[in-house]
Symmetry: C2
Subunit: 300 residues, 2 copies
């Protein structure tokens, strides 16, 4: 099965305590689509401006990402610039220019809309809903962030009612659920309508909630995080790709294994700047780290 990844396509400038780079390939959908492409045929839906570098197009193509869902506009590409501090635990957005995504209303080709697994990578829940309404998916995943909880809460709630899996990080889960207990938060989010909820906790791993199921795993151990940008998108992309690779109805076990696969892929992306590490992977490297992670977490 193929996976559709819809979200932002961006040009990023990123600073960390040790280094800085400009004009990087960024955006939630790019990280997620490249990550997903290691597991299943991947279609990308999004919009770019006239300034989107040809090398970034080549990069996506090299990963076999189907770009037939990428719309082009005369404006400028969505731009994000951020800086990391304090051993990369805090991030400050220096500049955001919405540009072409400001008035973006996705039009899905039939070939794109027929994907059975859909990942609505992080973007406005209004746009996520527009994609969702054009899809014929079996399983819909949506990622979100604090910005949308703050500025588009009602559209986000409406979206959550229509999806199968909501992905968000721990502070966002607490904020959206109105509690400091993450277990209570996960269960309250389930009551908002999505069948499953995944809470990402960075270096502390992640948790997966269903009505009568629960799963928790740690993060892959990293001695150094060089750039955590896109780690959450990469996690979501791998999870979506893994589900697309599996046959039949998505089970809780599939989701657990997808979370582990997401954990593994997210660990790679943190080890180098931007999407760099994602370009250096192959199936053997991914399998080796997956096996290593299994050894690190299984007691029976």
């Amino acid at each position: 099965m193929s996976v559709l990844v819809a979200g932002t396509i961006a040009i990023d400038d990123i600073k960390t305590p040790t280094t800085a780079h400009k004009n990087l390939l960024g955006g939630s959908a790019c990280y997620a689509a490249i990550s997903a492409s290691y597991f299943a045929p991947t279609v990308l839906q999004g919009i770019v401006g006239h300034d989107f570098p040809a090398e970034h197009v080549e990069t996506l193509k090299k990963h076999g990402v189907d770009l037939s869902g990428v719309e082009h506009s005369d404006g400028k590409t969505f731009y994000w610039s951020g800086e990391y501090f304090d051993d990369l635990n805090t991030r400050e957005t220096l500049d955001v220019q919405l540009n072409v995504i400001e008035d973006y209303h996705p039009k899905l080709d039939e070939s794109v809309a027929k994907s059975k697994i859909v990942l609505l990578a992080n973007m406005s829940p209004v746009t996520q809903m527009e994609v969702l309404q054009q899809c014929h998916a079996d399983f819909i995943i949506a990622d979100t962030m604090d910005l949308w909880i703050n500025v588009t809460l009602e559209p986000l709630k409406a979206l959550i009612e229509k999806i199968d899996l909501l992905i968000l990080n721990d502070s966002e889960a607490k904020q959206l659920a109105g509690t400091n207990n993450l277990i209570t938060a996960g269960n309250r989010l389930l009551e908002m309508g999505s069948k499953y909820v995944a809470i990402k906790k960075g270096e502390h791993g992640s948790m997966l909630f269903a009505k009568n199921h629960f799963f928790t795993c740690g993060a892959f151990p990293l001695h150094e995080v060089l750039d955590p940008t896109g780690a959450g998108d990469t996690f979501a992309g791998a999870l979506a790709g893994y589900l697309a690779k599996s046959e039949g109805v998505v089970s809780f076990k599939d989701l657990c294994q997808g979370v582990v696969q997401g954990t593994v892929m997210a660990s790679f992306v943190c080890e180098a700047f931007s999407t760099k590490m994602l370009h250096e992977l192959d199936d053997a490297k991914i399998q080796a780290r997956y096996d290593e992670f299994i050894r690190y977490t299984q007691v029976i």
Copy 2:
């Protein structure tokens, strides 16, 4: 095999945002010994004053804890009083009176010293070393805390060189290792001399380090934490008891299973005040939660 638990025996007064109790059974060794007693014959080494309530003695006896290592003094029992704030994430010590532990130099009976698994529960590393030097143990575990890193760093370092497993929490691990990366911290602590290092992360679970091995697991999911006092001691006690139950040389696999057992027992103790929940357990309840935790963490 039997396990020796040496540490503090205390009278605690505890306040939480919802309730307060006085004259509770407390101290690192009491939590740890009761926890260990569910897995193996447990001997307690420590000191009490003339005011130590008979009901606390009865409580320990009811759990089958061998009190032949408990020394008696004319002074007052070690006293601790603390208050929890902010959904129990921060704790303030209101009062500490060392009393009889101030000049305590443990004298181990031969029957106590012969235990093959020894847990040096949290107390001064100077006292921990005095116990260690009288033991003929196969495997020695030491728990510690920030206070000892701050005031008795050199004795703590000397102790770490002589033990098999060091247990401490995440902020203590970072402080002692001088790094904000927990993976680097774990490995640096191994270089200080103990064969294994376990880092406790509260609601985020724990990690176990060895030279060529690593293990990580989440915490047992709790909707509510009523009183986290003694959770770390309970974790260490269950781990020690589990090792004592196992036969032969301690393997990394044994330690992983012991960490899971510690995780399960620590989750129980958080659900009620003081040691209360530890008194209400039985093998079936412990096994049921262990099995539940295995389902929550295993993907293969």
